[in-house]
């Protein structure tokens, strides 16, 4: 069964929505009590600020710039990662070819390469996208490889029994069988893309949500800063939701595993 021990959501919404609501109310009360310093901004003020950022349109240009970097990096990095990962999973020579390089580069926090790339490309969109892509590569690569390595060996025998070519077996059997694990990698990559989107925007002269949050901080505009963080969270949330929708549509009939191999 795909959905294990799931009570209908109608019974659970009170708990899932109630808990964060209680936290927000406590935060609101704490902020209004004036016991805490003024930079503890009340949720109601943050929300009002967020609304004004939407109505004056200021946020959309920033959001667009950020999402462009995050998605471009995510798509490039994970596309390369998934492709090479699946190939490494079916071919030992390919796996060996990347093994040392992969193990070494994986150990480097990719953000530390930012200055090195900036020497060539400056603190530009291109260098930001490269850093994001590089970071997205690894979870995508490792999970796709393990997905292909871990498929039921009987599937391969079944393919041989049907006398199909290795390419056909790869396309029709190995790729769909690896998909649930591929999506585990993609979910991590997407999360990593958002982290590095913010991290790279804070460094150097930039626009985007990360940069806006940082400049609001520097200007002491804490409500705007929190509102920007809220927008980062919302875009991340909906991006992840979209990816999950795609995953469940493409992996129909298969169990989407929750195990995660992070880095």
């Amino acid at each position: 069964m795909i959905y294990r021990n799931r009570r209908p959501s109608s019974e659970l919404w009170a708990i899932t929505l109630g808990f964060p609501l209680v936290l927000i109310i406590l935060w609101e009360i704490a902020a209004r009590s004036h016991v805490f310093p003024s930079y503890m901004v009340a949720p109601s003020i943050i929300l009002r600020e967020a609304l004004s950022l939407v109505t004056n349109g200021k946020i959309f240009a920033q959001m667009g710039a950020s999402l462009y970097r995050a998605y471009a990096g995510f798509i490039i990095g994970s596309a390369v990662g998934v492709s090479l990962g699946l190939l490494s999973g079916v071919s030992r020579p390919v796996q060996d070819l990347f093994d040392t390089v992969q193990g070494f580069v994986h150990a480097i926090p990719k953000i530390s390469l930012f200055p090195a790339i900036a020497i060539w490309l400056g603190f530009s969109d291109a260098s930001r996208i490269i850093i994001i892509a590089l970071s997205c590569f690894f979870p995508a690569y490792l999970n796709a490889m393990n997905g292909a390595l871990g498929i039921n060996p009987s599937y391969i025998w079944l393919s041989k029994n049907n006398e199909i070519s290795r390419l056909r077996c790869f396309l029709q059997v190995i790729i769909p069988a690896s998909l649930p694990r591929v999506f585990v990698g993609l979910r991590i990559s997407l999360m990593v893309a958002f982290i590095l989107m913010v991290a790279t925007e804070v460094i150097g002269h930039s626009n985007g949500l990360g940069s806006l949050a940082m400049s609001s901080y520097e200007d002491g505009q804490y409500a705007e800063m929190y509102a920007t963080i809220l927008f980062i969270a919302v875009t991340g949330y909906f991006s992840n939701l979209a990816l999950q929708r795609i995953a469940s549509a493409l992996c129909r009939g298969q169990q989407l595993n929750q195990e995660e191999h992070r880095k």
Binding site: N152, K160, N162, A177, R252, G253, Q254
Partner: protein, 252 residues
């Protein structure tokens, strides 16, 4: 039709070579249902894999209609221990898959697949995904998928081993019914003595270490067989005899 000629299989373990199988020689006639009975570890699966071309014999060889078998072929359709259906395809799509591999269009393959779906009594479940089916239904679907390859020979590797007792009996009767109305040759691996008697025209008993043929026991039970056959007093005497052989093989 199939000639197994002095097949052996050696494995290397920690520098030592040990013989897991053989030499085994067997002749299987067209349309025959042969069960291979042996306790676990006797190399019966290895023998089946060699016949199917999935593993290579260390010495000796297997001939199919006079031609040596060097690799898996559609003429020898394998039914695995677990159903190994593709979970991302519906039951009907799974059955259509081998047909598609012959170059037919998807639509035509799906159309032809319904014939095999009906044969195994799953006509109501063509649109279901494998994880929505019971173990018995999954194994039926897997059988239909192998039949869709239109093989001359069915190689069955303890296909009912993982099923509960009642389902297993139903499947045995179903398989007998299917085979009796076909021209298939079947080689069926099992460790279940009653199963080997009920299904087989002939029971090949494999001993252990290395697996060799202890006896070929012709089962003289009338065809067509059905659920009543299991109550035949002859079944009991065959069982006593085969059980004695298996006991001998495990105490050596």
């Amino acid at each position: 039709m199939i000639k197994v000629d002095a097949v052996t299989k050696m494995f290397k373990r920690r520098g030592h070579t040990f013989q897991a199988l053989g030499p085994v020689s067997l002749n299987i006639e067209k349309g025959e249902f042969v069960t291979v009975l042996g306790s676990s570890g006797c190399g019966k699966s290895t023998l089946l894999h060699i016949i199917g071309g999935f593993e290579v014999a260390s010495t000796g060889g297997v001939l199919l209609n006079g031609q040596p078998i060097t690799h898996p072929t559609r003429k020898l359709g394998m039914v695995f221990q677990e159903a190994t259906l593709f979970p991302w395809k519906t039951v009907l799509q799974n059955i259509a898959w081998p047909i598609e591999q012959t170059g037919k269009s998807k639509a035509q393959a799906l159309d032809e697949a319904t014939v095999y779906l009906d044969k195994v009594g799953l006509h109501r479940f063509g649109g279901a995904y494998p994880n929505e089916l019971s173990g018995g239904m999954r194994q039926r679907a897997a059988l239909a998928r192998t039949l869709a390859m239109q093989p001359d020979v069915l190689l069955m590797d303890e296909p009912f081993g993982a099923l509960d007792a009642q389902t297993r009996e139903e499947m045995q009767e179903e398989l007998t019914r299917l085979w009796q109305t076909s021209e298939l040759t079947v080689i069926f691996i099992t460790h279940d003595i009653t199963e080997s008697i009920f299904l087989g025209d002939r029971v090949v008993v494999l001993g252990r270490k290395p697996g060799t043929v202890m006896e070929e026991c012709t089962i003289d039970l009338p065809r067509p067989r059905d659920a009543q056959t299991k109550a035949d007093p002859k079944v009991q005497s065959y069982r006593t005899h085969l059980w004695e052989l298996i006991r001998q093989s495990t105490t050596i």
